[in-house]
């Protein structure tokens, strides 16, 4: 090998490298939009699938919600706005829904969207062979549970197409939030012809998929980090869609996102807690809450008998809650836009059907989430006397992420201010935390729950005595009764049902059944000229149908 030649090649290559680079950066247009009705958005993770039955994450859920449509579309504040269903009739005491579908709804391949597409899509999701991880949402629809467990044939599911434009759904019992569920991607129709055409490749690229929503996806190869949503001209309500194109780029590092935002390449990015400090007053700063509560569970079945006794003592439970200064914790420890919990159910999830007040305000129990160290110390002392113990050593189980570690250290610090209480931290990987929680192998655990849909029951059903995810074994006959009523007797009575749920939450908080700590939120920089983005705290978070650039 001739070194001289190699050296020459290197010099030439180096020079052309720089030259090409300069060209490249000149060519890329600054695309902040300016009435072009194009926006550049970011996602923090890859898009794993476009298969409606298999989506489990927020990225695919958002993509599917904007490229496809079900009987309804979830609008502002979780409201139900028109989708493929033109009219809905509820009969048989809330157990039969008859949907009349609009005739002008089309798939992007030209096929008509018919009632059969819904029947096919639903049956595909509950089919155990599909192994959908959200099939449990179908619970309550006739025979769904048995089908999921492989005990009945898929064809027995309570959904029937009467002709092309009439869909009849039969339920086992009235489901108060059934219409909301119809706006959830797992209940969207699927085109049998297309699913069969692509077989196991269905939903693995943007071309191996068909769309009936406001946008069509292009440019997703199944493993790349960028894709586009372009306006779907075949969408039945295409005249309401103003955006021509939404470009998505996966950006996993917040610092990269911020640099892209500041250089005008993207119009939205998420911020880390460090960045929040510097951008809190920026005009583009926006906090988006999610329906996700982080709370502490106390194991009433603890193998350590003294601890089990302690956690059954209300004064001790209250002392543990009162000693946490949630404001200080959220603002100085987390600092990422997260909010102090006002209760176990998250805020911004559901509003009183009559007064429009947020659920958390209706069900607010101050003592359940306030900070009062003096009172905490007093109650702890009294509680310890009642159970006849001098000192307690609690292990606090939590995830091993940086954030979870900071959280458990903070809680440890606060709890150790109670005399006679020693706390050791136990940070483990998420999956380990999960399995130890469900098997009851913990003293206290910092858990999180996200609502699947915008109804408080999505939270409240968790702490009934028989629920598998009631890890701390909270047991209250009153609570069980309120939840049972909300899901049964009062399902068709909006006001009574609301009151049941409010009472359940109040009972849980008065008992200090769990210790809510904070509600997760994500801080964003979103250009102020992006208008009409509908954001909900649960289900599919973003609805871009009415979005526009001003």
């Amino acid at each position: 090998m001739n070194l001289k030649t190699a050296a020459k090649v290197t010099v030439v290559a180096g020079a052309s490298l720089l030259f090409l680079a300069a060209c490249g950066s000149n060519n890329s247009s600054s695309s902040t939009g300016k009435t072009k009705q194009v926006a550049n958005l970011t996602e923090t993770a890859e898009l794993p699938t476009m298969d409606i039955s298999k989506s489990t994450d927020v990225v695919s859920s958002d993509a599917l919600n904007n490229t496809n449509e079900g009987l309804y579309r979830i609008g502002k504040n979780g409201s139900i706005t028109p989708g493929i269903a033109k009219a809905t009739k509820v009969s048989n005491g809330g157990k039969t829904y008859t949907f009349t579908l609009r005739k002008n709804a089309k798939w992007s391949n030209g096929d008509k969207v018919t009632a059969k597409d819904f029947v096919y899509g639903w049956q595909r999701t509950v089919n155990p062979k599909t192994a959908s991880q959200y099939a449990y949402l179908y619970s309550g629809i006739k025979n769904a549970d048995q089908i999921v467990n492989g005990k009945k044939a898929v064809s027995t599911l309570g959904i029937k197409a009467e002709g092309d434009y009439k869909l009849v759904v039969t339920l086992d019992k009235p489901i108060a939030y059934f219409k909301k569920l119809m706006g959830f991607i797992n209940f969207f129709p699927q085109n049998e012809k297309v699913v069969n055409k692509y077989g196991s490749k269905y939903g693995t690229t943007s071309t191996a998929m068909v769309y009936n929503g406001p946008y069509k996806m292009t440019g997703w190869t199944g493993s790349n980090l960028s894709w586009k949503l372009v306006k779907n001209k075949d969408y039945w309500d295409a005249k309401s869609v103003k955006m021509k194109q939404l470009n998505f780029q996966v950006v996993k590092e917040n610092s990269t996102g911020l640099n892209l935002f500041n250089s005008g390449k993207v119009d939205d990015t998420t911020l880390s807690s460090q960045q929040v400090k510097n951008y809190k007053t920026n005009k583009n700063y926006k906090v988006r809450q999610t329906a996700s509560t982080f709370y502490l569970e106390l194991n009433r079945n603890d193998s350590n008998k003294t601890l089990a006794k302690a956690f059954k003592n209300k004064k001790i439970r209250q002392a543990l809650s009162l000693s946490i200064n949630r404001n200080e914790y959220v603002n100085t420890v987390l600092g990422d836009g997260s909010k102090v919990s006002k209760g176990y159910v998250s805020s911004g999830l559901a509003n009183n059907p009559k007064t429009g007040k947020d659920f958390v305000d209706d069900a607010y129990v101050k003592s359940g989430v306030e900070y009062n160290m003096t009172k905490a110390k007093k109650l702890f002392k009294e509680g310890m006397k009642e159970i006849g113990a001098k000192s307690l050593t609690i292990k606090l189980l939590s995830d091993d992420t940086d954030k979870a570690k900071q959280s458990s250290e903070y809680i440890q610090g606060q709890w150790q201010k109670l005399s006679g209480l020693k706390v050791t931290n136990n940070n483990v990987p998420f999956k380990t935390r999960l399995s130890r929680s469900t098997s009851g192998n913990f003293d206290t655990v910092l858990s999180a729950w996200n609502a699947d849909f915008t109804d408080p029951i999505s939270f409240l059903s968790l702490f009934t005595s028989s629920n598998t995810y009631n890890n701390g074994k909270y047991k209250s006959a009153a609570y069980d009764k309120y939840v049972a009523n909300a899901e049964g007797k009062d399902a068709n009575n909006t006001t009574a049902r609301w009151n049941d749920m409010v009472n359940a939450e109040k009972t849980l908080m008065n008992d200090q059944g769990v210790i809510p700590v904070y509600q997760q939120a994500t801080a964003h920089l979103t250009r102020t000229n992006l208008k009409g983005i509908i954001y909900n705290t649960a289900g599919s978070l973003y609805n871009y149908k009415y979005m526009y650039v001003k």
Binding site: G14, G24, D51, A131, S223, V251, T256
Partner: protein, 309 residues
Amino acid sequence: MRKYLLKRIFYLFLTLFIVATVTFFLMKLMPGTPLQNEAKLTASEKASILAQYGLDKPVWLQYFIYIGGIFKGSLGLSFQFSDQAVSYLIGSRMGPSMQLGGQALLVGVVLGIILGAIGAIRKDTWADRVATILSILGIAVPSFVLAILLQYYLGLKLGLFPVAGWSGFSYTILPTLALAASPLAETARFIRTDMVDVLSSDYIELAKAKGLSKFGIVYHHALRNSLIPMVTLIGPLAAALMTGSMVVENIFSVPGIGEQFVKSILVNDYPTIMGVTIFYSALLCLLLLLTDIIYGIIDPRIRLSGNGD
């Protein structure tokens, strides 16, 4: 030579087989399942979904099914990217990583040789000190710090290169530079040390005495001899660079394989863990084999043969 090659290739496959076996059983010791929505599924729901994927079978049976699949040429389907073939995932993710790795290796090694040679020729002068400081920095400053600095100053402030993304050659420059720092530093230190030795050896003295030009000596006699041991360095360097850097790829939003591997472990994506492990091992084995062959070609003192060991 042929016998030697056949033997090495046999060992390569044996190594891969052992790696695959050990990884498979270690992987099965990890807690948890590949289910993404695990927190919300009941035990029976989990069991029925896992049964669909054949994960309810005894581990040894799963192992034979997997190995059988490999012989049929299938690495299975990913869990995190539902239904995406692992071979497709690796194939499409490998391209960007290899391109970046290759470019970084080229830039790093070439600049490193130049820097190292300058250091050796101008030993104990300011030029040597600057070269030494640069190579120490290259090793001491982690690639992600460099990546962030490059992105902020060259990308955002000066606007010379795209900040992040992957749509053309210009997008590869900043990540290449960030990745090139460490091979550059390593090469420079290596070449300097080696050349200092060579330059003080008898045959160089002889060449000097014969009145050869300084460039001629350095270029024809010193550098060439110093380059031979470089080959051993480049093999593992290439493997390390081409298998992707999770941090640098994340910072520049490069659709590479670096993060894939780490993430697949975190989410118990068994087929992807296996696929990427086997692929990485194969790449490393191949590069090592290649190094040995090249060694034999360029250095006559080393003879490759099937016997004698």
